[in-house]
Symmetry: C2
């Protein structure tokens, strides 16, 4: 199972595999809820109050037209509410509803439980170092020229 440096998968591929397994486990552990998608958005909203859709798009690298559908789904299910920002009426503040707030606690618990299990045999030091590198890699990747990426403010033609 262990790979040599030569044959190991590229970091992007390995990260994608990790995320697929992670969401498989997460979705399984949350199947009793009345929604079955977009848990990462709820996690984000739990930690970020008064953000608008574009903020979520930027942080989670989700396309803004996809975000409309996410919000339709979550507000229809009664988890989130959209409120126009009075100081910039283009923006819609997104907040968890009473129900969403309550249920999201369960979502966050599941996320943390799976993180816990994912790092079960890994020391605190190693885990911190791992995330430090992960953030650096993301920062580096953000600088590279990129295709169809998610925040389509301006078309490159």
């Amino acid at each position: 199972m262990s790979k040599t440096e030569e044959s190991r998968l590229p970091v992007g591929t390995q990260a994608f595999i990790l995320s697929k397994m992670y969401y498989g486990a997460l979705t399984k552990s949350l199947e009793k809820l009345d929604i079955e998608r977009y848990f990462s958005v709820l996690y984000f909203l739990h930690n970020n109050k008064n953000c608008c859709q574009q903020n979520i798009c930027d942080e989670l690298k989700i396309d803004k037209t996809a975000m409309v559908k996410v919000m339709d789904y979550l507000s229809k299910a009664g988890w989130v509410e959209r409120k126009t920002n009075p100081d910039d009426r283009r923006e819609h503040f997104i907040s968890l509803s009473k129900k969403g707030e309550k249920q999201t606690k369960e979502v966050v618990r599941s996320f943390k439980a799976i993180d816990e299990k994912a790092f079960s045999n890994i020391s605190e030091t190693e885990r911190k170092a791992f995330f430090k590198v992960m953030f650096k890699v993301c920062e580096n990747l953000e600088k590279l020229p990129s295709d169809h990426l998610t925040f389509n403010y301006k078309k490159s033609k």
Copy 2:
């Protein structure tokens, strides 16, 4: 940009973001090719001879019905060939064609170039430790009960 331990995203979410940025950059850097998808499969085939479709599915966590479409796409484009394994005629060995072999070198170069840039300001030691943790996390996640995951041999009902 740096996160506290409390507010940082779950590892699965962060890995997914990383992979989206990674593939954005990769796709951009390979846009001159006559294919525009499934580069990770080609990378895998470059390092693994005489594998059948299921091997690729298992390693890259891709559903086997999706793999059929991947193989249709790549063989139609003339990059790969399917050959029945004479020792187990259920299996189709997948190999790179002459053209695929040649072009995949370019794909592998691009992967390695982006990995290089992704880890540009990260030491060799840190990088190795990072991948070690990444593999451990994947191993841990593999053990968890999981939904609709990709290798659907047996239905859990």
